[in-house]
Amino acid sequence: MEQEIILSVKDLEVKFNLRGRILHAIRGISLDLYKRESLAIVGESGSGKSVLVKTFMGLLDANGTITNGEIRYDGKDLSKLKTEKEWLAVRGKEIAMVLQDPMTSLNPLKTIGYQICEAIELHQGLKGAEAKAAAVSILEDVGIPDAEHRIHQYPHEFSGGMRQRVVIAIAVACRPKILICDEPTTALDVTIQAQILKLLKDLKEKYDLTTIYITHDLGVVANVADRIAVMYAGDIVEIGKCEEVFYNPRHPYTWALLSSLPQLGVKGENLYSIKGAPPNLFTHIEGDAFAPRNPRALKIDFVKRPPYFDVSPTHKARTWLLDPRAPKVDPPEIIQNLRREVSGNV
């Protein structure tokens, strides 16, 4: 099935200048985002997943620059946009974002209604009573009861889950094409988390959204994602359909991530943990960035950076293990029967 590409990233590189030292945050990422799909980006903190999506919205910190590559969206190259004015046409209107912490992403001094109307007035050109009516209907859409009344309340009068609903309402109020959710449920309880994920999925259908989730929780990923991109040290090491990445992971880093899930742990035994620490992105990385932490690294992993090898038309991974000349290395046993383990346990 040929899918329409809505956003296309090519050879993107992002560098940060930190007091004269150069930090290589994104090291050559190419990624196609299809219309109406939901893509999950997984990785440890510091792997560059937030930086990647921030480039889509022009939200990089002042010391960060895109040094190479392009971001194609709607015939434009977003990486070439410079001024705030140019960005305002995209940000919020075309691509919107839901941030991690609903406690800090709302203005505590303004009513919820004011904050939603602000977005509606700016992007849809509605005024006064019309904007308010639109705000009420959006609040109802995100499942806030008694919206007519609650619109006059302040953020502190809402619980964490309700606040996250408000943040989502503000994001979709501008009718964006792409919705980026940066750890949307990390700060929330499990029960609330499940409700918010369901809401996001419903809204995606209703408003015809393309969604990008950034998360480190693989349980969340399994719930929402059509495709998964695994990031490590500023690079996508594996990308594929959700089922492909969970049931047939190919990159050693994906293996390690899956193995360290507490859901797979056996009580009384040690949980698998990845040795060492992520590489220092200030220095130039030779070969496969994960090699020093990979107990089964090949010699070539330390010398030459692997290209992508196709596992299936929709699934590719950046590891020498997929080279026809590579020795056969099986994924760890614990994740080979991931499916059985998980369903057997719960």
């Binding site: 969970f246 507490p262 949980l271 998980v342």
Partner: protein, 312 residues
């Protein structure tokens, strides 16, 4: 589990309230449980359910307004002698949730870790203190050299280790871990969980593990108590609880656990707990032991129903 279990901590009908008169809010209401030596006791609930308040009243930060907390048979809530207070400070330690916020940014690791030693005057000499700090840091997998650094120089996982070293240096028997891994990455969670269980084996520690993530609690705990709005609703051995959750709230919590399996996750049925589903107008719910070691909050008709489920 072991045959003869010695209780370390007994909580009896604990009640904690905040505010006075009109503003009064009961955070914990009639909670009772016992933690035995060498076990890990998981306390699970959503935010605002009072789980942290229980932890804090055990280490005497929050005053209790009713009930008893017994540590090795000795009452430790309310007014207690000064010596006992000091003794308890050493015996019961706490590990906090957010390693970014719980370490003093302006103090070196050396001071952070040994602050407890200064306060309890446990060390005779400076050399002895340094030795203790080095040992505590090595125990949690950090290098002794790190003592001269500041917290901002460390990653989240390392900071949490510093937090653990700070608790360990007091040589406690009982550690309250309040969401110790919620703020950490998946891969680092595993490291910290492993460290906690290694330390438990080596030193025979007893943990009270407070969390909202049931998948983690399941991995580390021997027994789990589920708390909802300040009231315990169910308590059982971990596998018992997962195999036969009885209270509707427990079932709702279990159904919300995210599974790392797309097929199961996309088809799962989410249960929602509505407290109004209980008909408590005639029969008041009581905290009763439905099978050995398995407690649930229910009234008579519900108990009968639960028994039926268990028999099946």
């Amino acid at each position: 589990m072991s045959e003869k279990k010695t209780p370390v901590l007994e909580v009896k009908d604990l009640k904690v309230t905040f505010g006075t008169k009109k503003q009064k809010f009961t955070a914990v209401n009639g909670v009772s449980f016992t933690i035995y030596e060498g076990e890990t006791f998981g306390l699970v609930g959503e935010s605002g359910s009072g789980k942290t308040t229980i932890g804090r009243s055990i280490i005497r930060i929050n005053p209790t307004s009713g009930g008893e907390i017994l540590y090795k048979g000795q009452k430790i809530n309310g007014p207690i002698p000064k010596e006992l207070d000091r003794e308890l400070t050493r015996r019961i330690q706490m590990i906090f949730q957010d390693p970014m916020a719980s370490l003093n940014e302006r103090a070196k690791v050396d001071y952070i870790v040994s602050e407890g030693l200064y306060n309890c005057r446990r060390c005779q000499s400076e050399a002895q203190r340094r030795e203790e700090v080095d040992r505590a840091l090595t125990d949690v997998g950090l290098l002794p050299e790190f003592a001269s650094r500041f917290p901002h120089e460390f990653s989240g996982g390392q900071r949490q280790r510093i937090g653990i070293a700070r608790a360990l240096i007091m040589q406690p028997d009982f550690i309250i871990a309040d969401e110790p891994i919620s703020a950490l990455d998946v891969s680092i969670r595993a490291q910290v969980l492993n460290l906690l269980s290694q330390l438990q084996k080596k030193r025979g520690l007893t943990y009270l593990f407070i969390a909202h993530d049931l998948s983690v609690v399941r991995f580390i705990s021997d027994r789990i108590a589920v708390i909802h709005k300040g009231v315990l609703v169910e308590l059982a051995e971990t596998e018992r609880l997962f195999a036969h959750p009885l209270h509707p709230y427990t079932r709702a919590l279990l159904s919300a656990i995210p599974l790392p399996d797309p097929a199961a996750e996309k088809n799962k049925q989410l249960l929602v707990y509505d407290p109004e589903m209980h008909d408590y107008s005639v029969n008041q719910p009581i905290w009763s032991e439905i099978e050995p070691g398995h407690f649930v909050l229910a009234n008579e008709p519900e108990l009968a129903e639960y028994r039926k489920i268990l028999e099946e």
